[in-house]
């Protein structure tokens, strides 16, 4: 198992004192999760207005650092009411059965400076996949922020099935951007 080292680190972290790395929430009005997809070759923007995160981050104690991000898929803000109700429907998110997208980190690696690589599991629509997210952690005016972007292939999570599977209509790739400000 190639992730054995990571799991070991996680297992070890359980026995370490945790008081120096305390998980906290995020400041909602200073945090955003937006995305850009493509329909008929044209970029389409959207965002999620409700999400929460439990993030414990200390660059000196990466083994104990951890992130759990939960996105309320029903809070999606898209082009129109019609496209929002469509994307919550069964062919897309099936938000009635799977109302949340969840990302949980499994390991964080330092990449130099304020850059880190967060390995974790992303679950959407009942499908869980391992992903790697490059994240920049910064401290701005005393507040810690984390920002980054990642590319998701919607078919990996069966988002857009049936007639919507055609990538010529709605592209496979979706660029997700996030910026969260951690609660002090």
């Amino acid at each position: 198992m190639k992730n054995a080292g990571l799991y070991l680190a996680l297992a070890v972290s359980v026995f370490l004192p945790l008081h120096e790395v305390v998980a906290g929430g995020i400041v909602a009005d200073k945090s955003s999760i937006t995305f850009v997809g493509k329909q008929m070759g044209a970029p389409v923007e959207g965002r999620f207005t409700r999400f929460d995160a439990d993030i414990a981050f200390n660059p000196a104690k990466l083994a104990q650092s951890h992130a759990l991000i939960t996105i309320d898929l029903n809070s999606i803000d898209l082009a129109s009411d019609e496209s929002e109700s469509e994307i919550k429907g069964k062919s897309w998110f099936n938000a009635a059965a799977f109302p949340k997208a969840v990302f949980e980190s499994t390991a964080i690696r330092a990449m130099g400076g304020d850059r880190f690589e967060v390995n974790g599991r992303l679950s959407i629509k009942g499908i869980t996949r391992d992903i790697v997210v490059p994240v920049q952690f910064r401290t701005v005016a005393g507040a810690q922020t984390a920002e980054g972007r990642l590319e998701i292939h919607r078919s990996d999570f069966k988002v857009g099935e049936g007639v919507w599977a055609d990538p010529d209509s709605v592209a496979e790739s979706v660029q997700v951007r996030f910026k969260v400000t951690l609660k002090p």
Binding site: Q39, G41, A42, P43, V44, G46, D77, V163, W164, S169
Partner: protein, 175 residues
Amino acid sequence: MNQEKYNSTAITLHWLVALLIVIAFSVGHYMADLDLSPWKLKVFAWHKWMGVTIFALVLFRIVWRFTHTAPALPAAMSDLMKRLSGVAHLAIYLLMLAIPLTGWLHSSAAGVTVVYFNALTIPDLVGKDKALAHLFQEIHETLNWALLGLVMLHVAAALKHQLVDRDNLLNRMRW
């Protein structure tokens, strides 16, 4: 009887833009009630491409109109009628600009960038804002009904000149 004509560029542009407006209007009317589907996305994209084309051609027409002299109106027309004709034509020109512009604003506010023929990205005019998108959509539709009214008036006036006044005004716009 006035036999002076518009030049061939003006005539071609007039009929080309007229044809494109009829198609874009019909497509727009048809697509508004479609349920969301890949087909609807396609039709919306075509409609936007037509709108961009019309907008560019109308800008060119305006430049052409200012740099070339239009044939004089029939001497038999009263000053009031000449003035009304001028106002109606000005209104049509303004709508031919305002309608693609509000469509463009609507698309920008909806968060959907227009990419002309899948090749040329047209810059967004405003940021994503659903309430604003809805407002621009309403304005876009209302202006279209206004244009339909003015085009009907335009056609009726041309027919009146041809059939009632018998001043052969249509000849000015004939190839």
